[in-house]
Symmetry: C2
Subunit: 386 residues, 2 copies
């Protein structure tokens, strides 16, 4: 069997039962990289020998009865804005070419502590904003994979890894996962530490996971959720057993709130029809719920915060090498530099009310929200991430 076909949970079981070794699993994934990377271009950095060394070490630990945790021996792709001590982290800009962090991001330490193999660094858009990297959609290389976690989504979809880490400030986990036909899960704000991850906007930046099933996504996410004193927005929660919840305790059937956001009208006809059809097919498990009018301007407040924070956090890059930034990012930064503190703070002040409204949906008995992640399938062309 081609082990690259295994999902993460299935591979974890096979590893635990000694039916496969981590080296075999990693080798199978590397064979997919070898076969398809020229076409997909998901990796900013990958060193097959380094991945295999980690896998052999994991196998030797397991033989000694010292398996580290639920991810023991599983290869994971890590977006190239997340620092790694043993691989470069170039943040998708020539301004950071050759950048070699001296320490792992907190989440990378957690991955290693859970036994994961850090397979390599996946392609990000420029500084995790909109200008595309080299990655293509594995289902059709003339189409965008989406961004900014382009490489993570494409690598998982192309079976080069069963799991990958992404980040999002404006849909950058959900969008590429949808375009590449895999599962993107972005936990609630404050659940996964961003320590030593490129900072774009403190109130908006979030870590997410990408996998090929909900169970696999939960397996990865539950290893990463926790308080970190180095990320002041993380919360001290008892770690929820996401995978168990997803697999065993979830309400069956769940009740879904079908939400047409203020962006619904931007979805193409095929997308609108598909969602309406899905909602109809699910029948009484689904109710259409209207968001209050306050959500109409949420995208503007989001943009105000994001651009002002871009201007602040990327000021060193802007000062040092604005001619090496894309025109699009330069424009965002320049708009961000003009944002007034009053607009910025008023936008921040909206966040609690918006979150409160969504919390009410769940308190009213809905288990999840059903809404399109994108306006449609991955658009043709590589000049934009959609």
């Amino acid at each position: 069997m081609d082990l690259s076909l295994l999902g993460a949970a299935a591979a974890a079981s096979a590893l635990a039962e000694g039916r496969i070794s981590s080296e075999e699993l990693v080798a199978a994934c590397l064979a997919r990289v070898e076969a398809d990377e020229e076409r997909v271009r998901a990796w900013a950095f990958i060193d097959p020998e380094h991945a295999l060394r980690q896998a052999r070490f994991a196998d030797s630990r397991r033989r000694e009865g010292k398996a580290l945790g639920p991810l023991h021996g599983l290869p994971v792709g890590v977006k190239d804005i997340i620092d790694t001590a043993d691989m470069p982290t170039e943040n998708g800009t020539v301004l950071h070419a050759g950048r070699a962090p001296s320490a792992d991001a907190a989440l990378v330490s957690m991955l290693r502590a859970a036994g994961a193999i850090i397979m390599g660094k996946t392609v990000t858009t420029e500084l995790a904003t909109y200008s595309p990297g080299k990655t293509r959609n594995p289902h059709n290389p003339e189409h965008t994979p989406g961004g900014s976690s382009s490489g993570s989504a494409a690598a998982v979809a192309a079976r080069m890894v069963p799991l990958a880490i992404g980040t999002q400030t404006n849909g950058s986990v959900i969008r590429p996962a949808a375009y590449c036909g895999v599962v993107g899960y972005k936990p609630s704000f404050g659940l996964i530490s961003r320590h030593w991850v490129l900072k774009q906007s403190r109130p908006l930046d979030q870590i997410g996971v990408i996998a090929r099933s909900v169970e696999d996504a939960a397996l990865l996410a539950e290893q990463l959720i926790g308080f970190d004193q180095n990320d002041p927005d993380t919360r001290a929660l008892s770690r929820p057993l996401l995978r168990e919840t997803a697999m065993r305790e979830a309400p069956v059937p769940p009740t879904l709130a079908f939400v047409k956001t203020p962006m619904w009208k931007l979805a193409d006809a095929q997308c609108q029809e598909a969602f309406a059809g899905l909602a109809a097919r699910l029948g009484e498990r689904v109710e259409e719920v209207k968001l209050p009018a306050v959500f109409k301007d949420a995208w503007k407040w989001h943009q105000t915060i994001m651009e002002a924070d871009l201007a602040r956090n990327y000021e060193p890059e802007y000062r040092r090498g604005r001619d090496q930034l894309s025109e699009a990012l330069r424009g965002q930064i320049e708009r961000g530099r003009r944002v007034r503190a009053l607009e910025y703070n008023n936008a921040l002040d909206r966040i609690p009310a918006l979150n409160g409204t969504l919390n009410q949906l769940f308190e009213r008995g809905y288990d999840a929200i059903l809404t399109p992640a994108t306006a449609g399938t991955a658009p043709r062309g590589l000049a934009s991430t959609g």
Copy 2:
């Protein structure tokens, strides 16, 4: 004996031992109000009968063996930007005339829980900024009492209360306390809840206490320090026993860092000479310490944050009645409206480094910093708070 002469700690002992009643103590303080309020004008609201009722109730509780806490029966003045459910809170502006909050601020609840008598509401400057209220310096009514906690400092200095609560965003506890010749103590950021206290600037607003001795200030402060889920900047500390520390565990003699801040040159000759003389008299207990150059611009960053936050938090007042705001405050708000998010956030980003530098002073073995609270004694004139 005139009980208004008693400090808070001495009065607390006398109350605990049954040598005096709260009613006698409050009556003595009210006699001082009666005698001197026309001259000092410390109170925005005071109802003698309401204060005496609280005192009689405290006395009855004590007779039943149910004294509430360390402040049982002690009268406390509360600055009129701190909400009280049983008295108006007018925030020093005609725009809030007759404002009657429906609940106590968290710190007022804590005062009541510790047994304190809420004596009345002390005069604040306009919305706790720079435009003076009606209060005069009790040592010479032609001189300012300082602001913005003008009434709290003057009432304590005039023996109308042994204790009062103030707030500061820019020296507004320390300055009036110094001008009125009493003790002002502003604990570290995040130690006292600001829930239902007028918000001027979240990163700068802080609660402080005013008393006639360090021991009395510590007695009051230690009742107020603690985590409050309604003030996200408060910290979950075990409550330090400030008074015991001040009275028993403090190093004797303490080692002091004599700091000439970048504002030292603005101090008048008398003040500079007094401090130099004090440092010389204390001899080897005092070492002059230079602050790093980064402090030179700290006042500018402070002003950027404060004015931008004024514009944000007083936007309703500005929209509704800017013609009823003082010209000075209007000017501050209008400057604040022009602050860019980039400047604001860059100023906020300076705070950790500045605090870190001060923490280093204490780690280097200094027990406290010796530095002037003001440029000199309270200036003549009532048009400015100095």
